[in-house]
């Protein structure tokens, strides 16, 4: 695709270089530590699931058990491997025994280190290979049924009741939706565990549980088979359980997952170090199992002004891209976030939106890009919102965004009712078809408003990135660079779940995933 914006290649290169520096430095800064959530992920990938008598998830029981005993610095895997060798039991049985108070992992004799490692690694390999086989079947299914043409139409369900979510999901599919996202009950981000089983009571969303994912997956596969079109499922990784949700997502055949530590930092007051460590592993898992990640730059524009904050969005996209690549996520699985959030009363706001959307597209030609509808300035007038959504849809199709979250007329009031979803989808349907090739049909006036705006934003991003490269990502967050929110490196929820790795720390999942990348 020929550049429509006539971007300065030197400027682009400078941005990428600064972002790469930020990425490298950030990864270094979070190195040498694991988190309780990552260790629970190890348990989950070894097949540990279910809850104890007090409804505590067994992965939590196991990890807390070791943590209380001060052993988490070696990694849960080591203790499990040792227990497997010592007891001859598989991980599930060991977990059950620990939960029942019948087994103390740290009190078991420490056997041969290599044997323990081998045992747990080979078990992990088998389990992960099994998941991978299911993933491959899923890819085959997706190819067999086929998907709607890009942009994929992404819709969030939020009834709080997974069975009602299925009703909404079917309506979404029926009306051309391609991705059904299960939003979570409010503040699930803050839970340092994943609830268990099917749930029917959530606020502003339905709990992300493995069973809820399974239920929606089954329903959408059924619809897909009956109607000859594959329906994707998505949900949210962000929060205190990033890597674990990545895991249950892989287990239950999710296709996309919102995955952005910054959301937790800025809007849920989660400790920056904790969640960036979690993000690193959760993205690894998403990348490995072929799940597309959606990043959350759109959120910044909900608390900062979209015209002014545009460079911060581009800067964040470039950093997020680096961090995702470093976790082994391939370009086609990186759906960077962007949003149509300029105030509707800004003269020529449409031109700025087009410039920004096109800029994102040209900077990341192989990433799908997840484009979000206007929400911040939407009020109780559904017609006003619908008109904004129409122009939003036009920019989406005109700039070839990969995924579009469908805007709904009641955006400013409540999470959409069933009918609102259909109204939103119809709008997208109309515009995507009626203006199908408009983007390819037009060129921009050289040096005009659009090209100038894109160049300005890119230059702003460069300045920001160079500054961040200098002071570091954490310092930048502390200074309110993103979304006008300031967060300190040593504050926030979940900080106590960060554990410094001991000499002998060992994580077979990460080794397998990193091994696969080298190969």
């Amino acid at each position: 695709m020929k550049s429509k914006l006539d971007l300065d290649p030197g400027l682009v290169a400078a941005c990428r270089e600064a972002a790469a520096q930020v990425g490298r430095r950030t990864i270094e800064e979070i190195g040498g530590r694991t988190t309780v959530s990552i260790e629970r992920t190890v348990a989950r990938l070894l097949g540990v699931d279910g809850v104890d008598a007090l409804d505590a998830p067994l992965p939590n029981v196991l990890v807390d058990h070791v943590h209380e005993r001060g052993g988490l610095g070696r990694g849960l895997a080591w203790w499990l491997g040792n227990a497997m060798v010592q007891t001859g039991d598989p991980p599930e049985r060991i977990a059950a025994a620990v939960a029942a108070g019948e087994l103390d992992l740290c009190a078991l004799p420490a056997g041969d280190e290599d044997a323990a490692r081998r045992a747990v690694t080979s078990e992990t390999e088998q389990r992960m290979a099994a998941i991978m086989r299911k993933r491959e079947q899923r890819v085959a299914l997706r190819e067999r049924l086929g998907e709607g043409p890009a942009p994929l139409r992404y819709v969030l369900t939020a009834t709080g009741n997974v069975y009602e979510d299925v009703v909404h999901g079917r309506a979404v599919a029926e009306n051309g939706g391609d991705v059904v996202a299960i939003t979570r009950s409010t503040a699930q981000s803050l839970l340092d565990f994943i609830p268990f089983g099917p749930t029917t009571e959530g606020f502003g969303g339905t709990f992300a549980t493995q069973e809820n994912y399974r239920i929606m997956r089954e329903a959408m596969d059924e619809w897909g088979e009956r109607n000859g079109r594959y329906i994707r499922i998505s949900s949210f990784c962000s929060g205190l359980c990033m890597a674990e949700i990545a895991t249950i997502g892989a287990l239950e055949g999710l296709d996309n997952l919102v995955n952005d530590a910054l959301y937790g930092i800025l809007y849920r007051d989660i400790n920056p170090v904790r969640t960036l460590i979690d993000q690193r592993i959760s993205r690894m898992i998403n990348g490995y199992f072929g799940i597309v990640i959606n990043t959350g730059e759109d959120n910044y524009l909900r608390t900062a002004d979209a015209v002014e904050a545009a460079p911060s969005v581009v800067a964040s996209q470039l950093i997020n891209y680096e961090l995702a690549r470093a976790s082994g996520v391939p370009d086609e699985q990186i759906a960077l976030g962007d949003a149509f959030e300029i105030h509707p009363s800004v003269t020529n706001g449409f031109l700025y939106e087009w410039a920004q959307a096109q800029l994102t597209r040209e900077l990341f030609p192989d990433c799908p890009i997840k484009y979000m509808p206007p929400t911040k300035h939407m009020d109780g007038n559904p017609f006003r919102t619908h008109a904004c959504d129409t122009l939003f849809n036009l920019v989406t199709i005109g700039t070839h965004q990969g995924i579009e979250t469908i805007g709904m007329p009641t955006e400013g009031v409540y999470t959409p009712h069933l009918a609102d979803r259909v109204i939103g989808l119809e709008n997208a349907d109309y515009v995507f078809n009626f203006a199908h090739d408009f983007g390819d049909e037009i060129e921009f006036k050289p040096g005009g408003i659009i090209q100038t705006r894109a160049a300005d934003v890119l230059d702003g991003a460069r300045r920001l990135l160079e500054q961040i490269a200098e002071i570091g990502f954490f310092a930048a967050i502390e200074r309110g660079t993103f979304g006008d929110a300031r967060r300190r490196i040593d504050e926030g929820r979940g900080a106590d779940g960060v554990i410094v790795m001991d000499e002998g720390y060992f994580n077979p999942c990460v080794e397998i995933m990193e091994g696969a990348r080298v190969a």
């Binding site: 009834t159 299925v166 099917p198 007038n381 069933l418």
Partner: protein, 255 residues
Amino acid sequence: MPDLAPAVDLGAVRPYGDMLDDGLLQLSFTLPVPNSLAARRAALDLAERMGLARAEVTHVQQLVEGYTHFIVLAHCPHAIDFTAIQGDGLDIGYMSHEEVEEFAAAHVGRPIVVVGASTGTDTHSVGIDAMLNLKGFQGHSGLEAYDSFETHNLGSQVPNGALVAKAIEVGADAILVSQTVTGQDAHIRNLTELVEILEAEGRRRDVILACGGTRVSNELAKELGYDAGFSRGTYPNHLATFLVREVAARCSSES
């Protein structure tokens, strides 16, 4: 998969907003009062008068001084027994063009004569043309294409009297009238006038009388003394199904 969504009780159906039985619905209306908190209260009171619960103004806007527009979200406690309505035999199956021809051959045995027009001052002819002309509507040919019908389309702006005269002249089985302009109830006045003329001439019983139009419904038609009414989404075969069954029924009851 076993469907675990809370099961709908068709005996007591309520609006479904976000989930079963939340009863959520939306009202929009303008009140001729100045935009004020008192106006908001008036809007909520109005919802209460409709028997709605927990009404909430989600949008309010002055249109011009003294006129305020509202969008109100409310819970509807009223429930409808859908099973009773379903039993009413409203949803009849329509025959296709071919099926109509076969049915007519078997049960009528002569062309059914219909006279149609868009009457009064209404110049909207697309609706009646869609029903009667060869070209039909969205790929469904009109009655002119049916062997079992003899059609006379008088076009638009036809006085009711002229339509009745033509029906008498050709011995029509059915009079078909289209109405589009509804401003100040123009359609109701005009449709009523036609019935009155027919009755004054003592001809109402002799013909099947049907009307159609964007805002005509079967309910309205019956209320005005018509045998049937057809709205948006009607295809010629729907009309044909109705006519052929009705004529057949009348033939058999006559014999």
